[in-house]
Amino acid sequence: MTAARQAQLGVVIGLAMAFWTIVSTPVAAHGVSSKDALFLLSLNGPAIIPLMYLGAKHMVTGYDHLLFLIGVIFYLYRLKDILLYVSLFTVGHSITLLGGALGGIRVDPYLIDAVIGLSIVYKGFENIGGFRRLLGFQPNPRAAVLVFGLFHGFGLATKLQQFNLSPNGLVENIVSFNVGVEIGQLLALTAVLIGLTYWRARPGYLQHAYVTNAALMTAGFVFAGYQLAGFAIGE
């Protein structure tokens, strides 16, 4: 495969990722579908399995969390490292999901989602060596994943808070949602890992890595801009 051919492939993959982000935007819209919303509003009491399902569904179809995870595990090869980083992310978002939803801490969903978009940009920038070039050192990636995990958890909490869940069974429901989020994350991560592993085994992975992470930054900027515009017009 020639260098030009590889560069072409990289651009195609990058564009495909960006396109995927765009097409999934109106569909998933990062909220809860109206059918699920009606279900949540009608709840009065614990609904453990349905909430777990919704949590898992939110994670598997929530491209913002997925893009961030792609960025996180992009340069992670050993299962030990993957487990460490994903655990840090899980700890981070569980703290704020449970704390935010149970403690009734309200944050503007648009601003939180904008920060989540910027977390994708951050990860892409880190992966192309941006911080090491710019600052001369690598800011602790574990701390970054933990901190961004906190923001992602607030994002998850705001989704649930939009439905003014009945206080009856609230704790069970939110914990179930959180458990579902972890299951969904595991499923999504497995799929991402299979794809990345397959890709890593092919020649030219490192050449495409730069373009891929640049595309990740683009997708993060798009998502952040989309949310900031929503905040600005107060929709």
Partner: protein
Amino acid sequence: MNQAVSVTEVPLPSRSRLAVTTLAALAVAVVILMTIVLPAEYGIDPLGSGEALGLTAMSRPIAVEPIPLPAGGDALKPTPNGPINLYGAPFKVDAVEFVLGPYDYVEYKYQLQEGAQMQFAWKATRPVIHDFHGEVGADPTQVKSFDKSNRQEAIGALTAPFAGIHGWYWENPGAESVTVTLKSSGFYSGALEFRSDKTRKTHELSVP
């Protein structure tokens, strides 16, 4: 498989390449936002691309053009639409009670357009002489009886066979007072009460 490369071993881009990459990512994001995402999501279409691509339609609320209600006095005349009768005005509800002294009677009727519907339930404290009927165009000489049986109660629905006033004649056959209570709902425009002393009274009807 390639040898594992950690993020710290990735060859660093030059400052200028880093700047170009970051600005390009931002610029592409802005273009995608301006041309596609903002028009589709919020109807913000600074470049007109959303209109050209048909994306702004996504952010508009689904157009529901209401068919105007029939205007004027015909508002309570039904317009058949398949098995449905459509009306230009809301149905009303009514609840009245009449106390009939010995051998006294009362007539109580609703103004209905042809084909308009009305549901009712009435009950008396003892059996009464009863005639459920309609007057064509409120003309007492053109009366059509629907039900002339003696009853103590009746629950039913009427579809007016013609425009006019439709309702009940209740007569107390005995020496003791009788109370008749009536509840109804229907597409009627008004109610009239006729008493044995020849008085005539219109009733206020309420919209539920």
